[in-house]
């Protein structure tokens, strides 16, 4: 898995590439830890290049959501393929998270 970050004004866009699974979710968590240490409070997670996610990956995303919420922060998702979206819909997490079709939409009014 590869994770890169970019700043769009006060929003941090986190581009995730590869699989978010039981072995890679630790790396993603570490990355999110660093974001929170830097007091980031607006995060867009771009999943365009994510080909697979399991329940440990979902848990890692929920953790970030919870931690941001505690500090008044927000997160949005974009770039979900239909495969990944299916997993969010099956688990009803699409009701919990803000999911935007495009990065532009995610950045709008954030």
């Amino acid at each position: 898995m590869k994770i890169t970050q970019e700043k769009c004004n006060d929003v941090t866009v986190c581009n995730v590439e590869g699989e978010i699974n039981i072995t890679t979710s630790t790396e993603l968590r570490k990355n999110f830890d660093a974001l929170l240490r830097d007091k980031v409070n607006k995060v867009i997670v771009d999943l365009t290049a994510v080909s697979y996610i399991d329940s440990s990956g979902l848990a890692t995303l929920i953790e970030l959501f919870q931690r941001l919420k505690k500090t008044g922060g927000h997160m949005r998702f974009t770039g979900m393929s239909q495969k990944i979206r299916n997993i969010f819909e099956i688990t009803k997490l699409h009701k919990l998270f803000e999911i935007c079709d495009t990065r532009e939409a995610a950045l709008q009014n954030f």
């Binding site: 039981i22 697979y52 997490l93």
Partner: protein, 137 residues
């Protein structure tokens, strides 16, 4: 086709990708669609991860036995740990509003959603799951 895998893994998560690579290769030989292959893979990985983490509690002295059988019409996997077992009826619905924020409890739910049948045995130490091919042969 007829393919069979029987493995005993130590209770370490890093043992899972090696086995899964074999399973993915095996699935590519079937007539499963790509989406079906992903679903089968996800359900199996969830079962193995649960067996290692919750069943054997990551005790490296305990093993997880995995038996996979694929033929022209179906994929069947049996995963069995050496832990204390659990009460399947006690599992909460992870899609209930009050559980959506929880960071655990989705593994079995996903298996049930993605496979055609999921059955527990031996007090929750074992699970058997099946997916039937839509285009057999």
């Amino acid at each position: 086709m007829n393919a069979f895998i029987r493995e005993k893994l130590s209770s370490k998560l890093d043992a899972v990708p090696v086995l899964m690579a074999r399973v993915i290769d095996m699935l590519k030989e079937t007539t499963f669609t790509e989406d079906e292959r992903i679903n089968v893979r996800l359900a199996l990985e969830e079962a193995i991860a649960n067996a290692i983490r919750h069943g054997n509690r990551m005790d490296a002295a305990l093993t997880v036995e995995i038996i996979i059988e694929v033929n022209d019409t179906s994929f069947t996997a049996t995963v069995r740990d050496q832990g204390q077992g659990f009460d399947v009826a006690s599992l909460a619905d992870p899609t209930a509003k009050e559980n959506l924020m929880k960071t655990s409890g989705r593994g079995v739910f996903l298996m049930r959603q993605l496979m055609d049948s999921v059955d527990f045995f031996d007090g929750g130490r074992g699970i058997r799951m099946t997916k039937t091919l839509k285009q057999g042969g």
